[in-house]
Amino acid sequence: MTGRARFRNAAAFRTSPRAGTCMKRYVAYRVAVTMPVLLGVLVVGFLLMQVVPSDPAAVRAGPQASAEVVAALREEMGLNRALPMRFALYLRQLARGDLGRSLINDAPVATELGRAIGPSMELMTACLLWSVPVAVALGTFAAYRRNSVFDRAIVMLSIGAASVPVFFVGLLAIWIGGFWWQLLPFTGRGGPFWTRAGLASLVLPAFTLGFVLLGAVVRITRTAVLDALSSDHVRTARAKGLSEWSVTLRHALRNALIPIVTLVGLQIGYLIGGAVATEIIFSWPGMGRLAVNAITSSDLPMAQGAILVIAAAFVLTNLAVDLLQLLLDPRIRR
C-alpha cells in the first residue's frame, strides 16, 4: 500500500460506520508513524555530536592536556570506532538514561535536564490555562456579536496579538508589572507553583507566553463558531426556540472545539519558540534557557540532550493532540 493510500484510509476511519475497531487501528497507525520520526530525532541528535568540528575528547581534557591523555580519552569515550558502532553505543547509553556530562561543570546532563523539565512544563501549562479559555471566550463572543464594534475590536486585538514579538510583551510586563507597580517578581522561579512565592513568580512569564497563542486561537474560534452557526443542526436548535446565546454556547461552540484543538496542536511549535524567549527574559530555569545557554557556551552534550528532549516532547505532544482530537469527535468515539 502506498503512503497516499494509507493516508486516505486514515481519513476514511473517521467517517466509517465501524468506527470502534477503526479507531483502535487509527491509534495504532498514528503511534506507529511516530516511531520513525522519534528514531530520526535520535539520529539527528547523534549526528549533531559527530559533525561538530571540535574534538570532544580535547575539550573534555582541557587546554593543557598532552596528546597521550587526549588519545586515551578518545579511546575511553569510544570516539575511535566506526559510526554505526558509536550510534549503537549512544543508544545503549540513552537507554540507561546516561546523556553524558556537561563540558562546563561536569554535571550529569540527565540530572540537569530533569531539573529543567518541571519548570518548563509548569510555564507552558499555566500559559495554556489562561490563554486558551480567554481566547475561546473572546472568539465566541465576537462570533455571537458578529459585525459589531466588539467583533471588530476583538479581531483587531487578535491580529495585534499574532504580530507582537513575545519579548516585547515580556519587557512591557516587566516594566509595568514588576518595576513600575512593583506587583510581581520578574526574575527566576520562586519555587513550585503550589507555594505562594512560586505562584507569584509564575504570573508574569505565563501571561507573556500566552500572547503567542492568543491571536491565532481567537481567530480560529471566531471562524469555527461562525461556521457552526450557519449549519443545519444550529438552525434546528434555533427553530426549537432556544435563545441565541444558548445556541451559540451549547450547539455551535461545541462543534467548534475540534478545529480549536487542531489549531492549538499546530501552534505548539510556536509555543516552544516563545517559551525559549520567555524563559530567557524572566530567567526562568527551564529547558529552553538551558538549551540556549548550553549552545552559546559550546557545551555540546548539554545542548544535544536539551535539543533531544525538546524534539521528543514536541513529537509526543503532537501525538497526544491527534489522539485527543479523536476523543473529541463523537462520530468516532462510539
Binding site: 497516499r4 504580530s163 519579548f167 525559549v276 524567549a277 538549551a291 549552545i295
Partner: protein, 279 residues
C-alpha cells in the same frame, strides 16, 4: 501574472483604510531601509561614552544606547538588516519550495517521497532548527536564515504542488506535450510561470511570520551578535538597561511589532487572492 496584478489592483480599490495604511507602512519602511544612511546621516557604530543612555534630544533624536550610539541610526541599520534577513529566508525557502513543489506535481513517483520527507521537516518548529544549526555552526545571520528558510520550504512546496497540480491538467499543458515539448522545458516555460503569482502572494504572507521568528532567534542570542545593529539583537542588548533607559529596548521591539503587524494586515487582504485562485 497580469491577472494577478489586476487582482491586486482590485483589492486595493476595494480595500478599507487599514489595508492602505498597512501598505503605506510596508512601502515606507522598505524605502527607509533601502535609502538607509542617506535618510539620516547617523553612524550606527559611532561610540560616544559621554552621552550614553540619554533620552531623546537634539544630539540624538531617539536617544542613545549604553555606548552612546544614536538609536535612530541603529534602528535604520537594524531595519535594513532585519528586512534583508527576512527577504533572504523567504527567497531561499521559497525557491527551494518552488523546485520541490513543481517536481512533486510533475513526477508522481517522486511525489510521495518528496512530500513525506517535507512532512517530517514541517513537523519540527523553527526554534529547533535554530538550536540545532547554531549548535553545529555557531550563532550568526547564516544560522537564522537557514532555519527560517528550512521552515518556509515545506509550506511553499505544498502550496506550489497544489497550484501546479491544477495547472498540469489544463489544456495548454496537454497541447505543449503533444507538440513534443520536453519535460524540463514544459515545466520551466509553462507550468512554473503560472505558479509564480501564488508564490509571490504566499511569500508576502510568510514574510511577517519570518521576521517575527527571526527576531526571536536573534533575541535569544542565536542570530547576529553585538555590536551588529539588528533589531532583535538590539532588544536583547537594551534589555539590561530597561529600568534606566527603557527606550533602548522598547524602540526596536516596537519597530519589529510594526513591521509584522503591517505585513499581517496586508497579508490578510492578499490571502483572498490565493484563496480565490485555489478554489
Amino acid at each position: 501574472m497580469m491577472a494577478m496584478l489586476q487582482d491586486l489592483a482590485g483589492i486595493l480599490r476595494r480595500s478599507g483604510a487599514t489595508t492602505r495604511v498597512a501598505l503605506a507602512v510596508v512601502c515606507g519602511l522598505g524605502i527607509v531601509a533601502l535609502a538607509g544612511p542617506w535618510v539620516v546621516a547617523a553612524d550606527p557604530y559611532g561610540i560616544d561614552l559621554h552621552h550614553a543612555l540619554q533620552g531623546p534630544g537634539w544630539r540624538a533624536p531617539l536617544g542613545t544606547d549604553e555606548l552612546g550610539r544614536g538609536i535612530l541610526g541603529r534602528l535604520i541599520a537594524g531595519l535594513r538588516l532585519t528586512l534583508a534577513l527576512g527577504l533572504a529566508s523567504v527567497a531561499i525557502g521559497g525557491s527551494a519550495g518552488l523546485a520541490l513543489g513543481l517536481a512533486a506535481a510533475y513526477y508522481p513517483r517522486a511525489d510521495q517521497w518528496i512530500m513525506r520527507v517535507l512532512d517530517v521537516v514541517l513537523s519540527f518548529p523553527t526554534i529547533l532548527f535554530g538550536l540545532a544549526i547554531v549548535a553545529i555552526c555557531g550563532p550568526g545571520a547564516e544560522a537564522v536564515v537557514t532555519s527560517l528558510a528550512l521552515s518556509t520550504m515545506p509550506l511553499t512546496a505544498r502550496m506550489i504542488r497544489a497550484t501546479a497540480g491544477i495547472e498540469m491538467v489544463r489544456d495548454y499543458v496537454e497541447a505543449a506535450r503533444s507538440l513534443g515539448m520536453s519535460d524540463r522545458r514544459l515545466m520551466w516555460r509553462h507550468v512554473m510561470p503560472n505558479c509564480l503569482s501564488t508564490l509571490i502572494v504566499f511569500s508576502t504572507l510568510r514574510f511577517g511570520q519570518v521576521v517575527l521568528m527571526g527576531s526571536i532567534l536573534s533575541f535569544v542570542g542565536l542570530g547576529t551578535q553585538p555590536p551588529v545593529a539588528e533589531l532583535g539583537t538590539m532588544v536583547a542588548e537594551g534589555r539590561n538597561f530597561l529600568f534606566y533607559a527603557p527606550h533602548v529596548a522598547i524602540l526596536p521591539a516596537l519597530l519589529i511589532f510594526i513591521i509584522v503587524l503591517a505585513c499581517n494586515l496586508l497579508g490578510d487582504s492578499l490571502r483572498d487572492v490565493v484563496d480565490r485562485r485555489g478554489s
